[in-house]
Symmetry: C2
Subunit: 367 residues, 2 copies
């Protein structure tokens, strides 16, 4: 089932299929796209074990119209290193990869980020397709052409913009998703909905129990609406010069929390949820109506997040100074002017952030 959604970007147009059965519907397109070529399929052992069969029409022995090579990267963020990228390039070259070869990513955001980067730099760029298998990747990471790997000093610090030829977000993949992964993805949905799509925000408020339970009937339209919201923003600002920055709502502190925790303890979405709570406080100081801030806070409270570990404000600010969005003059903050309207605020000094963080860390859920 295709949503008819398309992302137009400087390099062309990327169709985005969302919904139950999207992969089956794209079968002929994928076979045509790979015909006569070498196809690399990048996945992780866990995802491949759960969903590899769904790609047997591309990778199975019965396929003679193209040659398929399945590559595995480590599960999760561990995959996103220069060393893993280097090994994949080497393997692809040894397997006869050429400029007309193709790459499919099957996995969560990490596999998509890594695969897009590897495809974008292999022989100066080969086409790829994203098959995101997590909610987070389906609504956010797989859409928009951002690719990247991590350095010890920061996530996504190496990468490039390289758009997939197609994104196929089949919600059937979400059936095997652990509850915390669903929560993490829903935080990103809420992040987008609060600034960009108030009706979607209201829908999430209404359907939250079903969404957290992984009900595909409830998740299907939410994935499609969130993907559409992201597409609208990315189309208007493909290289993140302006409006696209709004997608970083909650991410400035979220990234710092993840880095300070060594990417353990809290998932990305859980860290971003706390980042949203902090951004609400900065937003309130600039005039976000208290009732609207309360709606987002109350919704996040229903997610059943793990408590925020003990953290040091100065250490968090230290990570923010190394944020890749930081410039010599400081760090832009994405805040909410009101429900449905975000703003990028420059000039909030690190000292002021540190002071606000002190009280926030003592009581993150306080108003």
């Amino acid at each position: 089932m295709s949503t008819g959604l398309e992302l137009t970007h400087p390099g062309g147009t990327t169709p985005i299929d969302a919904g139950a059965g999207a992969l089956g519907a794209a079968r002929e397109w994928l076979l045509d796209w790979t015909r006569g070529r070498t196809l690399f399929v990048l996945s992780s052992p866990t995802v491949w074990g759960l969903h590899g069969d769904a790609l047997s029409f591309l990778t199975g022995k019965e396929t003679s119209a193209h040659r398929a090579v399945v590559l595995h990267a480590p599960d999760g963020e561990e995959a996103k290193t220069p060393a893993v990228a280097g090994e994949l390039w080497q393997r692809m070259l040894a397997e006869g990869g050429k400029r007309d070869s193709r790459l499919v990513t099957l996995g969560g955001g990490s596999v998509g980020d890594l695969g897009g980067f590897v495809a974008g730099c292999f022989l100066r760029g080969i086409p790829f397709v994203n098959l995101p298998t997590t909610l987070l990747a389906q609504v956010d990471a797989a859409i928009g052409g951002k690719t990247g790997i991590d350095l010890p000093g920061g996530k996504n610090t190496v990468g490039l913009f390289h758009h997939p030829d197609r994104v196929i977000a089949d919600s059937r993949f979400l059936a095997t998703l652990p509850a915390r992964e669903l929560t993490s993805g829903l935080v990103e949905v809420v992040k987008m909905a609060f600034l960009l799509d108030p009706p979607l925000f209201t829908r999430v408020e209404r359907d939250l129990p079903d969404l957290l339970a992984g009900d595909p009937e409830a998740l299907g339209p939410v994935v499609a609406l969130a993907a559409a919201a992201k597409v609208r923003v990315v189309e208007r600002d493909p290289t993140e010069q302006g409006e696209r920055k709004l997608l970083n709502f909650g991410h400035t502190l979220g990234h710092a929390i993840e880095a300070e925790l060594g990417y353990r303890g809290l998932s990305h979405g859980e860290a971003v949820a706390y980042g949203l709570l902090f951004a609400l406080r900065l937003s309130a100081e600039r005039g976000l109506p208290a009732a609207e801030a309360a709606r987002l806070r109350d919704l996040l409270a229903r997610f059943g997040l793990p408590p925020l570990p003990a953290l040091d404000a100065a250490e968090l600010v230290g990570h923010m100074r190394k944020d890749k969005k930081a410039r010599e003059g400081g760090l832009p903050w994405v805040l909410a002017a009101r429900l449905g309207e975000g703003e990028v605020v420059e000039g909030i000094g690190f000292e002021r952030v540190a002071a606000r963080l002190g009280s926030f860390l003592a009581d993150p859920w306080g108003g």
Copy 2:
């Protein structure tokens, strides 16, 4: 002294300054470009020892308007590895590199290729400037936005298109160039001139003794004309879909020779010179007039190239099959239809190439 040459590409316009004193003339522009930012200067120990002083206005202690960090990569092709790129990214992040940071490459083609790749992927891309210090880089490698690193299986197999903000090709840097480096660069000049600029070819025939001796009066206009020829081709075909492929004249066999020799024994230009001789034979079969083929062969004979080592045709073809320009259907060959007119010929099978290579390797200078 600016040549007024500019390269217009999909991402903007790159001014290209060529001639003696080009760096001094660009001094104010460079200071403005770096003002208030973190500047990374990437060079190699040898080049930095010879020419680092020329950049003291950017890197010296007296500079307070920006912060400069000098980075060294190994000399030559050794620099172009995923490991070196990873170390540079890590170092740049640790030094506080940000999205508005700048990078200058000072060195030959390897430093430029590596630096462009590192700049293109750091935080998804920061601006950079090429200061090529070899003839080869000044007339070819530094112009056109190709960046890349090597894998054990092939040169420039990982990279992206990322254009510099400016190319400053100061011919004063060429004064310290070893004779073989001059020869290597002149081969690239001859390669372009034969297909794209017959008057430049005639000039090289006339001035060859002075050019091989490194005379800046003779080299200056040749650098400017060759750079202009490259700019014209790249502008008409920025992503190498068509005409730009002509720049690979002599490179298909040249790359295979380099790979088979393990990048030792012959320089890049020397290997390309033998690649040109072989391309002349394939061209002659298709109708290149014998007198024109003889002009290129006779000119190359005056270069005093080292003899071609003993090589095996089958091994060379094996490398060609892994050439990044190879597609499942074969490898396109750049040939000369006549002096001043190149053509890209598809469909010359590897078997036919292997047969022709056998007789070529036995007598490369034969007609």
